[in-house]
Each structure stands twice: as structure tokens, then as C-alpha cells.
């Protein structure tokens, strides 16, 4: 058998055995798959909802905790006032004692 003959036979065989791109029952096959897929939809939605809750609940918790802490903590301006007040009194103290020494 020549190489050309062999190649022609192979092309025919390969097309027949491996080259098909349609089946006569593709509608039935697709219907069966889609039937299973449609039944999966509520399950998948449930999974997606649980997945969402898995990160949403901790995020919500962290947000609420952050708000609570922010409400309870003294305000920045009060802290600043205290700091300035103590600093001022200490300065005043040291200044008055220094003046007294002279």
C-alpha cells in the first residue's frame, strides 16, 4: 500500500470513527442534561446564599462591633483637650516654680 493510499484510508477512517460532530439523539441527550441542571438550580441558589452568608455575617458583626466601639470611646477632641490641659498645667507648674526660685 502506498503512502498516499494509506493516508486516504486514514482520513476516511478517522472521519468516521472520531470526526463526528452531531448525533441523531442530541435533543434527547440535551433534554436529559437540562432536566438534571434545572433540578439543581434551587440547590445551587441555596449554596450561593450560604456562601454569601458565610462572609456577610462576620462582616456585619465586625461593622456593628466597630460602631459600638466608636460610640463608647471618648471623642478625639475630648482627649485632645485633656492632653492640652495637662500639658498646660504642667508647664504652668514648672514655670511658676521656676519663677518662684528666682
Amino acid at each position: 500500500m502506498s503512502d498516499n493510499q494509506e493516508e486516504a484510508i486514514w482520513q476516511h477512517l478517522s472521519k468516521a470513527l472520531f470526526g463526528g460532530n452531531r448525533t441523531t439523539d442530541e435533543s434527547l441527550f440535551t433534554y436529559r442534561v437540562m432536566d438534571q441542571v434545572r433540578r439543581l438550580e434551587p440547590v445551587l441558589q441555596d449554596i450561593a446564599w450560604h456562601r454569601f452568608l458565610r462572609w456577610a455575617i462576620p462582616m456585619l458583626g465586625a461593622g456593628v462591633a466597630g460602631l459600638a466601639l466608636a460610640a463608647r470611646a471618648p471623642s478625639a477632641s475630648l482627649l485632645m483637650d485633656n492632653a492640652l490641659f495637662h500639658q498646660q498645667s504642667s508647664d504652668t507648674g514648672s514655670l511658676s516654680s521656676a519663677l518662684q526660685e528666682e
Binding site: G20, N21, T30, V37
Partner: protein, 190 residues
């Protein structure tokens, strides 16, 4: 006809029915892969359905860095290998015995495919016969023919999968094709 990328985007945004278009477009190749691995049309069809269901469940994992066909064939490949590992080895008929017994059916199949021009359409009976034919191939021939002819992988990818050189792949493929030609050519010329 809608572009496959648009269909994939539709599925990813929750359009379940768009998935049906992908199933219809790729079912022949997926069924052929399952058939080539499992050698039985019924078992292959169940596996192929499972492949599409798995693809749907894991659709968020499809990253578009490869084609949908490459991705789904990979799923089919993995599923079939799992099924083969799980099942007990069973006796298969030899290719000679099959062709002797089913020669007329094979001849009819080959001539019908030749007459239909470009695209081949398989009937359930064709798939049943093809399954038996794939199962009857010697293991080495079947493996390389599945990878190259059914999964349509490149020589480089096959060499990586089989952990051998490019030349070894080409040599093995040539031998396997030759074996198949030798067994089947009488049915083409008749």
C-alpha cells in the same frame, strides 16, 4: 447564531437555559471521549451527562484561558479515569472477532459516513458499535488514539501527559494508526 463567548457570559450571569446551547454544541465530542474511555454506549452516555452536570456546578471555575471544549473534555477525561479506576477489569472482545461478527454493520457505517460529506452524524447504533470498537483496541493504541484523535490534543501536550518525548508520541501514533488501517481497510474497499 450566538457567539460562544456570549453564551458563556449568559450562563455565568445565571441564564440556565443558555447552558443547553453549550450542551448541544459539545455533546458529540464529550460522548465520544466517554465512549472511547469506557467502551460502552450506555455507560458513556451516563458519564457524559454527569460531565455536563459537573461543568454546570463548577461553571464559576471556568476561567476562559482555554476554550470551553478543552475545559469540558478535561472534566470528561478525569471523570472517565475515576470510573475506570473504580470498576473491575472486564474481558473485552478482540478487534478481529468484533469485525468478523459485525463486519457488515461496520462497512455500512463507513460508507454512510463517506457519503455524508463533511460532517458525520452518529446514530445510537453507531455509538454502540464505536464503543465496542474502542474497547476492542489494544490498550496502547486506544490510549494514544483517544488523546490525539478524540481529545484532539497537540503532540506536545500528549508528550507531557504520557511523560515521553515528542518523537515517541509520533512513533506510537503512527503505529496505532497503522494497526487500525490494517484491520479496517478491507471494510473500506468492499
Amino acid at each position: 447564531m450566538q457567539n460562544e463567548n456570549d453564551i458563556i457570559t449568559a450562563v455565568q450571569s445565571g441564564d440556565i437555559e443558555a447552558f443547553g446551547t453549550l450542551v448541544r454544541a459539545h455533546q458529540t465530542r464529550v460522548r465520544l471521549v466517554c465512549l472511547a474511555f469506557l467502551g460502552n454506549a450506555g455507560e458513556a452516555d451516563d458519564a457524559a451527562q454527569e460531565v455536563f452536570v459537573r461543568a454546570f456546578k463548577g461553571f464559576e471555575n471556568f476561567k476562559r484561558d482555554a476554550s470551553f471544549e478543552t475545559w469540558i473534555i478535561r472534566i470528561a477525561d478525569n471523570l472517565c479515569l475515576d470510573l475506570l479506576r473504580a470498576r473491575k477489569r472486564h474481558r473485552t472482545e478482540s478487534l478481529d472477532a468484533l469485525l468478523e461478527q459485525q463486519g457488515e454493520i461496520f462497512e455500512g457505517f463507513l460508507s454512510r459516513i463517506k457519503d455524508t460529506g463533511e460532517s458525520s452524524t452518529y446514530t445510537p447504533k453507531d455509538l454502540e458499535f464505536l464503543g465496542r470498537l474502542f474497547a476492542a483496541l489494544p490498550e496502547d493504541d486506544r490510549e494514544i488514539l483517544i488523546l490525539r484523535e478524540v481529545e484532539q490534543l497537540s503532540y506536545e501536550t500528549i508528550a507531557e501527559r504520557l511523560r515521553c518525548s515528542l518523537d515517541a508520541v509520533k512513533g506510537r501514533l503512527k503505529r496505532s494508526r497503522q494497526n487500525l488501517i490494517n484491520k479496517c481497510h478491507p471494510f473500506i474497499h468492499k
